[in-house]
Amino acid sequence: MIELKWYIWLSLAVFSIGMIGFLTRRNIIIILISVELMLNAVNINLVAMSHYMQDLRGQMLAFFVIAVAAAEAAIGLAIVIALFRTKAVGHVDEVTEMKG
């Protein structure tokens, strides 16, 4: 039997990798992919907790996270397409209208 902490460490590692990708990559589509990685890490954590605590609540939450991830991908890619249409760039450091 694998202990719960191994699953938590795995999800922690994947979450950190996704966060590195989110904060350092220049391409906006890779940034959205990194968000999906982070959501997947959270799902691994929730399902593992649900299994080891013998309660389906964690799997419910994982189910809702998957639905929200689908909505987030649709909206995020729509924003990317709108950005391409108005500025024809796909790099986050070239979009400087808001002086961020």
Partner: protein, 167 residues
């Protein structure tokens, strides 16, 4: 056997995640993501969550991945392959993330189950996983389920409005 399986899945998930965030060509990243999602689905099977494994393959590997591939079609890959991968501030971001990772790792070093609910493995074996899941979803989580349907409606309307020719 199960330790070997978990080790294989964990190592390949971490390796594929690193592969995804370091590729220059976004198409390679998306293909890496496909394999990573399938490995995560296998991990769900290891955790007795068959229904979620199926949903993972259908929604993530089926729908979200195709959406990403469609968005990549509008990218200029040739230009993408020539510029550097990372933004200038990566030297600041990397220590922050590594610090967060170490902090959480120290905090969760001895994490274990602290609670035991009613859905034991025997219960799920007799009721079957999908039936137990559906009963829980439609009896105790019906309000979040309805809210999710609204969120998906907002996503549909938002995607249509954002990609219109004239806003």
């Amino acid at each position: 056997m199960i330790h070997f399986l978990f080790g294989y899945l964990a190592l390949s998930i971490i390796g594929l995640s690193l592969f995804i965030i370091t590729r220059k060509n976004p198409v390679h990243s998306v293909l890496g993501m496909l394999f990573m999602f399938i490995h995560v689905a296998a991990l769900y099977l290891l955790l007795n969550a068959e229904f979620l494994a199926a949903v993972q393959v259908i929604v993530y590997a089926g729908a979200i991945l195709v959406l990403f591939l469609f968005a990549i079609m509008i990218l200029n890959i040739k230009e993408e392959l020539e510029i550097s991968l990372f933004v200038g501030s990566w030297v600041m971001a990397l220590p922050v993330v590594i610090g967060l990772f170490i902090m959480l790792l120290l905090g969760l070093k001895e994490a274990g189950p602290t609670y035991s609910g009613v859905h034991t493995i025997e219960f799920i074996k007799t009721a079957t996983h999908t039936k137990a899941f559906g009963k829980e979803l439609f009896m105790n989580y019906i309000l979040p389920f309805e809210i999710i349907s609204l969120i998906l409606l907002v996503a549909i309307v938002g995607a249509i409005v954002l990609t219109k020719k004239r806003l």
